[in-house]
């Protein structure tokens, strides 16, 4: 499973795209957030971050699968 990274998350996680290890079974947005926070504690210093699934904001219960486009959305600051 791959997660597109944006903004400050690329720097905090030292990569452009996060590739989760094969054996890592992650079924929901909440599980993904928890895995990220465990692996990259720095991400816990942000206000918060959201997860987008297929380019839509997803809530914690949203299921996630391999073939969806998953992105990590740090606090936005457009405008």
């Amino acid at each position: 499973m791959e997660v597109l990274l944006f903004g400050i998350s690329k720097e905090l996680m030292g990569q452009q795209v996060l590739s989760l290890p094969e054996h890592q079974k992650i079924a929901t947005v909440l599980e993904l957030k928890q895995w990220i926070l465990n692996q990259y504690p720095e991400m816990g210093t942000l206000y918060s971050f959201a997860i987008a699934v297929d380019q839509e904001y997803a809530d914690d219960e949203t299921p996630i699968t391999e073939n969806q486009e998953i992105a990590l959305i740090p606090p936005v600051s457009g405008g």
Binding site: L4, F6, G7, I8, E11, T45, L46, Y47, A52, Q55, E56, Y57, A71, I73, P74, P75, V76, S77, G78, G79
Partner: protein, 123 residues
């Protein structure tokens, strides 16, 4: 853009332009850089436009956001609304820029002389 917003039924045209200013948090800004999750940003902007069109009797609406490096004084975001009466144009434009800043997946990086900061990232 102004001419695009013209409409025979529109008595009020509101054009908001967000520019790069030369300071932030009392420090001199050298430049800004904007990164966007383009396909999702477009979707979110289209959702906001649709929402505004429902809330206000809008004749014409435009939303534009720059990406990449921006110098002092350069425009970054433009919101335009054309309505029969000015009240709706002001309100709709305010809604669009405020919600854009909350929802559209675009990120601003501020370059100061001695450091760079991702805006709004940390408390």
């Amino acid at each position: 853009m102004y001419s695009w917003l013209q409409d025979p039924e529109a008595g009020g045209i509101n054009l908001f332009i967000g520019n790069v200013r030369n300071h932030a948090q009392e420090k001199a800004v050298v430049k800004l850089e904007f990164e966007g999750y383009k396909p999702m940003a477009m979707k979110e902007m289209e959702k906001l436009a649709a929402e505004a069109m429902e809330k206000w009797p809008i004749k014409k609406l435009l939303m534009v956001h720059a990406l990449g490096s921006k110098q002092i004084g350069e425009p970054v975001v433009v919101i335009g609304t054309a309505t029969a009466h000015r009240k709706d144009a002001f309100e709709a434009s305010r809604f669009l820029i405020d919600e854009l800043k909350n929802k559209v997946p675009i990120w601003k990086k501020e370059y100061f002389a001695d450091q760079t900061v991702w805006v709004n990232a940390h408390p």
